[in-house]
Structures are given as structure tokens and as C-alpha cells.
């Protein structure tokens, strides 16, 4: 317990988290501090490229055990399954109608790659290794949740627009393509390739992450400010309860697959995190009647900060406890 607290405290006082907090504080205080849209996108391209490449180079270095396919399958199951749990919880805990509940549920089945990056970075600073292929698991978890959510809504008589074009958009969305593409490049070029561009994608990585989290804090803070009244106590409770619940599923599957301690923590983090880029865009198209304030605020304003600050140390502590690692 003391360990968790020390880790959580250490985590809370890292430059990464403090940068996020600065962003939130600046937005809440209505400072005009902003990161230009193009700069924010450039930062996210950098992070996706770097994390994907490093994952692929890791696979190339340590070889590919058969676990990869199983892990991908586990990711798929988590992504498609968690929305059902989330939906049931939402209907029980909150007053959301089927459409809004479905839309939110889809976000929680999918993943937040920045949460994944933050967890990787905590692992790295603790010297805990993790399977490089977890990056591919992250990529595969983006989409199935959307399908599950739309199915849930339609079963309830809600109207969802599932045109064929939407599927291509979801499966080929920029972040999936970049993450998997960089993973493939890292895998193909291996440690030699990594060495070539190490001083670009490894050394400055944490600093870039700070600036990106500053921006995410600004966006989350602005979002919180603009959505006063939207978030009821029930929704708030959901936003902090759902991540640990998802993490438990991730823990079970991660252990079942025999992942390393780091791998288990990443699997938990993926399961616990909620999408705030790919799924919102898909939901605007497929479920235009769902209120974006609800799912964006939950995912970006509540669950993301929760995972970043308390969640990740908690998942690490839990995984340590269980694996004895």
C-alpha cells in the first residue's frame, strides 16, 4: 500500500503529469494559452511514430513469441466486450438514454494512445520491460468497440448510420495507420534502424510528451469549463469506476496470456483507457444524435486524468501484487 502511494506520489510529481495539470489549470483560469492545432497534430504524429517504431524494434530485438496472435485476440475481445459492461453500468448508474449510453460505451471499449504512452513511460522509468507488440494490440483495440457500441444502440431501436464508407474511415484512420505503419517499419529495420533515429524518437520523447500533455490539459480544461451541468454525479462516478473495472478484465487476460509484468500493466491500461480522438469522430458520423459533450468530457475530462494520475500506478501495483513481480 505504501508502495502504491509512493509510486502514485512520484508519478503525480513527474514533469509529464505536472504539464498536464498546468494545462488544465490554465484553461480553467481562462488563460489564452493555446497550442496551435497544427502543432498539436504534429506532436501526436511524433508520439505515434515513435511509440510504434520502438514497439516494432522491440519485437525485432526480442523475437516474436506466439503470444502476439493471442494478445491481438485478447485485445479484440476486450475492445468488443467492454462496451457491453460499460453500457450496462451506464444504464444502471446514470440517466443516459440508449444512444448516449451506447456512444459512451464505445469510447471505453476503445483506447487512448496517450494513456498507453504515459504508462510505457512510467514502466521505462521503473526499468520494467514490456512486450513491444503491445503497440499492435493498442492499434487493434481502436475499432471493434465502435462496432459493439453501434450494435448496442441499434438493438435498442436507436438510429445508427453504418454506411460502408464509415468502416474504411474507422479502420484506416490516421492514428491506426501511423501506429501500425511505424510498428512495421521498426520491426523491419530492427535495432539498427532504431539506432539510426534514436536521438529523434528516444531521447527527446519524454519532453515532447510533456508539451503534448500540456496541450491535452488545455483541451481537457476547456472542455470541463464548457460542459458544466453535463456531468452528473452518476456520470462522474462512472468515469472513475469504469477504468479500474476495465483494468481488471485486462489483468485477467494479460495473466492468462502469460504476459510479462510490463505487458500486463499495458494491457490493463489499454482496457482502462477511453478513446478521445478516433471514436468521437466516428460517433459524430454514426450517432449524430448522441451528445458529444457527454462522451468527450467523460473520456477526456475525467477518465484520462484519472488514469494518468492514479490509474497507472494502481494498475502497476495490482499487477505487481498478482504476478509477484
Amino acid at each position: 500500500m505504501a508502495d502504491i502511494l509512493t509510486l502514485a506520489a512520484g508519478n503525480l510529481l513527474s514533469p509529464i503529469i505536472l504539464s498536464f495539470a498546468l494545462g488544465v489549470a490554465a484553461a480553467l483560469a481562462r488563460s489564452d494559452l493555446t497550442v496551435p492545432e497544427a502543432a498539436a497534430k504534429a506532436l501526436s504524429i511524433y508520439l505515434l511514430f515513435a511509440i510504434g517504431f520502438k514497439g516494432g524494434a522491440g519485437v525485432a530485438a526480442h523475437g516474436l513469441d506466439a503470444t502476439l496472435l493471442l494478445a491481438l485476440l485478447a485485445g479484440l475481445v476486450l475492445s468488443a466486450g467492454i462496451p457491453f459492461v460499460a453500457y450496462a453500468l451506464l444504464r444502471a448508474m446514470t440517466r443516459l438514454g440508449p444512444v448516449d449510453a451506447g456512444a459512451v460505451a464505445g469510447h471505453y471499449g476503445s483506447i487512448s494512445i496517450v494513456t498507453f504512452v504515459a504508462a510505457s513511460s512510467v514502466l521505462a522509468s521503473q526499468g520494467i520491460a514490456a512486450e513491444g507488440f503491445m503497440v499492435a494490440v493498442a492499434a487493434i483495440m481502436e475499432a471493434p468497440a465502435i462496432l459493439a457500441a453501434l450494435w448496442l444502440v441499434m438493438r435498442r431501436g436507436g438510429q445508427a448510420e453504418m454506411e460502408p464508407g464509415l468502416w474504411r474511415e474507422i479502420l484506416l484512420n490516421g492514428s491506426i495507420v501511423l501506429l501500425l505503419g511505424a510498428f512495421a517499419i521498426g520491426w523491419i529495420t530492427g535495432p539498427a534502424g532504431l539506432a539510426e533515429i534514436e536521438s529523434f524518437i528516444v531521447s527527446p520523447f519524454k519532453g515532447v510528451l510533456c508539451l503534448f500533455l500540456l496541450d491535452m490539459g488545455l483541451v481537457a480544461g476547456r472542455n470541463l469549463r464548457g460542459s458544466r451541468g453535463v456531468i452528473t454525479p452518476g456520470l462522474l462516478a462512472f468515469g472513475v469506476l469504469m477504468p479500474p473495472i476495465g483494468a481488471v478484465f485486462g489483468l485477467i487476460l494479460g495473466l492468462g496470456l502469460g504476459l510479462s509484468l510490463g505487458g500486463v500493466v499495458l494491457m490493463m491500461t489499454l482496457a482502462a483507457s477511453a478513446s478521445y480522438i478516433a471514436v468521437p469522430a466516428a460517433m459524430r458520423v454514426a450517432l449524430p444524435d448522441a451528445n458529444p459533450s457527454i462522451y468527450l468530457t467523460l473520456s477526456l475530462g475525467i477518465t484520462f486524468p484519472f488514469n494518468l494520475t492514479l490509474g497507472i500506478p494502481l494498475y502497476l501495483a495490482a499487477a505487481r501484487l498478482v504476478t509477484g513481480g
Partner: protein, 103 residues
Amino acid sequence: MQTHAAKRVEIIIEAPMERRLTAALEKAGVTGYTVLPVLGGTGRSGTWSREGQVGRAGGMVAVVCLIRAERLDGLLDAAFAVVERHIGVVSVTDCQVLRAERF
């Protein structure tokens, strides 16, 4: 300078719907349009801003389309089908264009 009567249609729509809108316009026989970036705005669904956003969900674009009057109805029907359940606004203005053969 010789000018010709035409219509200027301006559609402000959520960025994730842009492709669908332009596809619908093209299907309706529209031969040209221009897409302008939008920084932010306020409407019934609240205030939003592009600053610092990574995803497209929270953004809008403005699509401007110059068109002959007789084609306006087809365009508006097509646009409405896309905009209907989505946030966004559509306005039509009378205008004069140069080089009418282009529209």
C-alpha cells in the same frame, strides 16, 4: 465586365461530415466548391474551438459553392440530406459571377 446571376451557397458543417457532404454535392452535379477552415464557433450545442485539437470530431469547415440558380434545388436537397441530423448551418446568397461557363 460581363457578369451572370448565380447563387453562393455556404455550408458550415462538422469536419467528420466533410467528405460525405462533398460526395453528396458531386453526386448532385455540383462541379466545383471550395473548403475553408473554421477556427471555432458557438451554436445551440455550445462553444467550440480548434485550438490544440488533434481529432477532427471537434472541428467544423465551411464549404462554399457557386452554382447556377437552376441547380440550386438539387444542391440543397443533397446538402440537406447530409446536414439534416448534424449540427451546422446552410445559407444561400444571390451573387454575380465572372466566367459563367465555369458553373
